[in-house]
Amino acid sequence: MTSEYERGGHADLAPGEESQDGEVSLLQRIAGYLTGLGLAILLTATSFFIAGTDLVWQPSIPVALVVLAIAQMGVHLVFFLHITTGPDNTNNVLALAFGVLIVVLVIGGSLWIMAHLNHNTMPMDQIIHMQG
């Protein structure tokens, strides 16, 4: 078993790089991508099926679509980008967490503010009515 020290390597992995413990064979790596592809196809197909079906309770569809999308993003991150929970990936995960925080703030904040603006702004016909 080759340790990282013996290879002269470091405890960190570049993002996108698979853990190279010397135990991951070619077939295992291809199998990893095939697993990711299979899961992604499954989730995508479910998304497209749910969007056009009458079989489920309609108000649940948007929530289901968002959950499926987040799940598929997770599949892509783990199987294609190799951003995992391993100790050699801490820096990459922390950077991702910060990115997700900013994305949530930008999208959530914009929607929140604009919804309140719409709510508090008088409709145009009422303004015209008051002026007249």
Partner: protein
């Protein structure tokens, strides 16, 4: 055999990595591959932050159709499903290309990259046809705020894929001319990150723009 191997004959039975970590602390700065990859990862995250601003704009302007057509009347989900399939398949073959690059196998690398290129071009062709069709039906980016936001968001992703295609062709040429040098390998790593990240952004696009736009 190192001291660690003597102390822990079965590697690291409790997964503490204590010995390893203490050694690594004295191992000097990380390799250029890690620094480059990490820097590019930060760029990709900043790119996602930029996309989040476009998504926020789109969500805010979703109802502002100015009497024009809404997404439900415009979107063709069958086309979107085919686009998604091409992009997903190209992400997979891009992964195979990175494996081939690690094994320094030029034939498989060029084959996988070539297939990735074709799938990416197919995606772009379908998207270009969709845009041309929308403009021809009078639903171009100037029709309403909703359509401006739609063309900005989806077009920006398309521009990223186009840039990725150019980068992809560059990598094929560089491996052909220079082989798998360390700097070329770093570029392949960054390209793969970029290409997979584009697929992640596309998941958000097809869910939020097309599927939610058609469902509700």
């Amino acid at each position: 055999m190192t001291d660690a191997a003597i102390a822990y004959p079965h590697g690291d039975p409790h997964h503490l990595r204590g010995m390893e970590a203490s050694r690594v602390a004295h191992a000097g700065p990380p390799s250029k591959r890690i620094v480059t990859g990490y820097g590019f990862w930060i760029f990709i995250l900043s790119d996602m932050v930029m996309f989040s601003a476009f998504f926020a704009t789109y969500a805010v302007l979703l109802g502002q159709t100015a009497g024009g057509p809404s997404g439900r009347e415009l979107f063709n989900l069958r086309n979107v499903a085919i686009e998604t399939g091409f992009l997903l398949a190209s992400s997979f073959t891009c992964g195979l290309a990175t494996i081939a690059a690690d094994y320094r196998n030029k034939t498989w690398f060029h084959l996988a990259m070539g297939v990735t290129c074709v799938f990416g071009l197919a995606f772009l062709a379908i998207e270009a046809r969709e845009f041309a069709d929308l403009v021809a039906r009078g639903a171009g980016p100037t029709r309403s705020a909703f359509l401006s936001a739609f063309f900005t968001l989806v077009g920006c992703h398309g521009l990223h894929v186009s840039a990725g295609e150019l980068w992809l062709l560059t990598m094929i040429a560089q491996v052909f001319a220079k082989g798998f040098r360390a700097d070329i390998q770093r570029r392949i790593l960054c390209f793969a990150l970029f290409w997979h990240a584009l697929d992640i952004i596309w998941i958000a696009v097809f869910t939020i723009v097309y599927l939610l736009g058609s469902a509700s």
